[in-house]
């Protein structure tokens, strides 16, 4: 049994020594290999400790057990993913972020809305999600629509604030220039204000990716059909099937990172001109 503990510690020491050496190199693959090796070490030490000390799988299942559950339950996990992420989180994200940007444009055009709407948005943002979620589930039913509604509530305000800030980001001189061209407000928006706002809008979009996933998962705790990542986590905890809970967490981590990465990639392409992206 102790062989697992010592073996994993030995691997840790070896990997550490290797990483120290590798980090001195400047080859491009090192940038990916060093963190990969670190992640592998965490998993192997985890596995070794759980096996070596015989940790109760309810407290902490071994990575191998989680992997086995993951592979064995792929159809279930996929169904949960579609339900929670593609239906709930993604549609709520698109609706909430679009609404945030459109509202920001309206707020930007009208001082009346700026004074009236921003405080209300602030107020809504201050509402606790665990309080709002059951109410929205009551209103919109157990299906993914109520999860999308929770996500909309969560992402709307951060998106609004960032977009309002962004629409103010163009310089006075650039706006004066549009004025000397006798540009219409619409032209000013399309050709100056929106492009100048893009770095801020993407900031909001990136923050909202994680909010959307959290919102959709948490909302399922308050009622959902018999699928969905949040539903699965809450029921499998009840059945002490922690390996399944961990498998869902792995899915959430992968999808969340991929979602964030996709938005960050779009940012690189669209705001290539911004000093932070020129590299």
């Amino acid at each position: 049994m102790m062989a697992w503990v010592f073996g994993s510690l030995l691997f840790w020491a070896a990997a550490w020594a290797l990483n120290v050496r590798l980090s001195r190199l400047s080859a491009p693959w090192v940038r990916f290999f060093v963190p990969a090796l670190f992640g592998m070490t965490v998993i192997i030490v985890w596995e070794g400790m759980v096996r070596g000390f015989g940790v109760n799988p309810v407290l902490l299942p071994a990575p191998s057990a989680i992997a086995a559950t993951f592979v064995g339950e792929i159809p279930t996990l996929w169904g949960d993913l579609v339900q929670t992420f593609f239906k709930g989180a993604l549609s709520g994200y698109v609706i909430g972020c679009t609404a945030g940007v459109l509202t920001a444009i309206a707020v930007d055009r009208s001082p009346f809305l700026q004074r009236g709407l921003l405080p209300v948005g602030n107020f809504v943002a201050a509402l606790p999600i665990v309080g709002m979620a059951p109410i929205l589930v009551m209103w919109f039913g157990f299906g993914w629509q109520s999860k999308a509604a929770v996500v909309v509530v969560m992402v709307f305000f951060p998106m609004l604030v960032n977009a309002v800030e962004g629409l103010r980001a163009s310089e006075t001189m650039q706006r004066d220039l549009m004025h000397t061209y006798a540009a219409t407000p619409g032209q000013g928006l399309r050709k100056l204000r929106l492009p100048a706002a893009m770095p801020f809008i993407f900031n909001g979009l990136k923050i909202c990716t994680t909010l959307a996933l959290i919102g959709a998962i948490v909302a399922e705790f308050f009622g959902s059909p018999i699928k969905g990542m949040g539903f699965r986590i809450s029921t499998e905890v009840g059945r002490l099937a922690l390996d399944m809970v961990w498998a869902e967490i792995v899915v959430a981590a992968i999808v969340g990172s991929a979602f964030y990465g996709a938005v960050a990639l779009a940012e690189r392409v669209i705001t290539f001109w911004h000093p932070s992206q020129r590299g």
Binding site: L177, H179, T180, Y181, A182, M198, W273, P275
Partner: protein
């Protein structure tokens, strides 16, 4: 010089006409009088420089012509219209202190910006971009982004942008202020050639006496608190001006008069 023998068919047309112009900014502490009783006529084809210390209202006057500021008193017409009507009829191009190019657009696309807004056709846009890039000596840089060019090249691109559409007035607010001496000389020379070729009316704000004297047909000396015109100097220099004209006695005499005007108008009370 046989210019005098050519009969003048049309009397020179007043492009900008200011009569007793006043402008007072309301600030939190106290009202600031930026312009006081400014009267000036700029004629078709003039190259007028405005020179004076900070706060003398030279930029403010230029912004009034561009309808970026509203005078609080007096009368100002541009091409016989109010400044705002002139702005709507796209009567002028404005070059700011900084290039102000949009970083998400290439140089060519930046120059196209006013053309897109004013609804020029695609083919016309391309042709004009090509022409003005040639005028400011930036051929081959149309595909570059502003941040890939030097400050001098960016400023030239911003001038090209102001030249791309058919405005016969060019308003320039210290366009070369942030550039080093060598680049500045070069751009001054190019600007004069450009003015000759295009026959535009140019109003040019500057801090630099040699620049004002080298470029202008008329030099307007202004002084601060309140901003007003203290002297208007007609330049005796010929239209053809190589850079070394700056070492001639005539040039130095004009420069001297400008300096005297600046000194007289500047109260050293602070």
């Amino acid at each position: 010089m046989n210019n005098e023998t050519i009969p003048q068919v049309d009397p020179p047309k007043a492009v900008v006409e200011a009569r007793g112009l006043d402008l007072t900014f309301q600030t939190k502490d106290s009202p600031i009088q930026a312009l006081k009783d400014v009267s000036l006529t700029i004629e078709q084809g003039d190259f007028v420089s405005f020179i004076g210390p900070s706060g003398c209202g030279k930029t403010t006057f230029l912004r009034c012509i561009a309808a970026l500021e509203q005078p609080t008193g007096g009368n100002l017409t541009v091409n016989g219209m109010t400044p705002d009507e002139a702005r709507r009829s796209r009567a002028y191009g404005y070059v700011f202190q900084a290039a102000g190019l949009y970083p998400w657009r290439t140089i060519a696309k930046n120059i196209k910006l006013p053309l897109e807004i004013m609804g020029y056709s695609r083919a016309d846009q391309d042709e004009r971009v090509k022409k003005v890039l040639q005028l400011v000596d930036l051929e081959g840089f149309g595909g570059k982004f502003p941040w890939q060019l030097s400050g001098g090249m960016q400023q030239r691109a911003s001038i090209a942008r102001a030249l791309a559409f058919d405005a016969d007035i060019l308003l320039m607010d210290e366009p070369f202020g942030a550039l080093d001496e060598i680049v500045r000389d070069h751009l001054n020379e190019q600007l004069l050639k450009l003015w000759e070729r295009t026959n535009k009316t140019i109003a040019f704000v500057t801090h630099s006496i040699p620049e004002a004297v080298y470029l202008s047909t008329r030099i307007v000396v202004m002084s601060p608190r309140p901003g007003r015109i203290t002297d208007v100097i007609e330049s005796p220099l010929p239209k053809e001006r190589p850079l070394d004209i700056r070492d001639t006695p005539e040039f130095l005499e004009v420069a001297h008069r400008v300096r005297e005007g600046l000194r007289a108008g500047h109260a050293y009370d602070d």
